[in-house]
Amino acid sequence: MTKPNDLDMIKRLIGAGEHVPPAIEVLKSELRTDSGVDPPVDPPPGPTVYIIIKWKYYVRVAQLDKFHTFLAKHEGELIADTQGLKIGASYYGTYAELPRTTTHQTLWFYESVAAIDRFKSALSGKKKSSELRKNLKELLSYIDEPSLTMHRLVRASALAGAVARQRRSDPVMDILAGG
């Protein structure tokens, strides 16, 4: 059963998030093939961003004003500093979900898979005192970590044919697919 200290954690998480009425759902089991798809390394030509990484998280109500003020002051620097690296990685902005504005999403755009690694290297190579690292560190400090989820989005058109190529064999699925 839930331990007493779980109650504190539950209260903390509830205090940090938006209110949703109680919901209980049956978890239906699914048969899944192990068919994770890796995006092609080289992005196909196209006018839009190739990979978007989205952080979704809550910010405590008590921190909201400070957080939004921080963004108002420093978001422009974050955009300029990431684009200034000229490695195909950029901070695209932090958005608050209406109407309660406790849920936020921060978007990162990458021109290629390699750009993600280049951005990591560029960041670790920067001094701790650099504006970019300081601003990113401050941004992270407002995130209520247990609530953080990360989503990787890839331009769907780049996956044309990729799912069929990468689907691994599964005996049950193969029999069923064979009719």
């Binding site: 539950i10 998480l13 998030g17 009425p21 978890l27 989820t149």
Partner: protein
Amino acid sequence: MFSQRASYKPTRNLRVRPVPEMRMCFVFTPAAPKLYTLNMSAWLVLTLCDGRSGRDLVDAYATEMAAHLPRDDALREVRAAIGDLEGKGMIVRADKRARAQQKGSH
């Protein structure tokens, strides 16, 4: 049906697995083998079912939700959640559980 006088407890052998990073928990009911997901509010109601009365449960829930909703809404949510938890075999009224245990020992 929810009663402010009755007290509520989790059913015996109930398995609860917190997944705070996803703001939910998994609950397994061995007596009628099923796996459920509970969101934060439902998880809170289940956790508050520690033998306290329905009235105390509403008080505790309303206190935690005070920033989000008025007491009347809290009462409505607790009433619905208790009905759901009871119907799915996750909680029992404490007196019922005692009776069931007594019956089982004879």
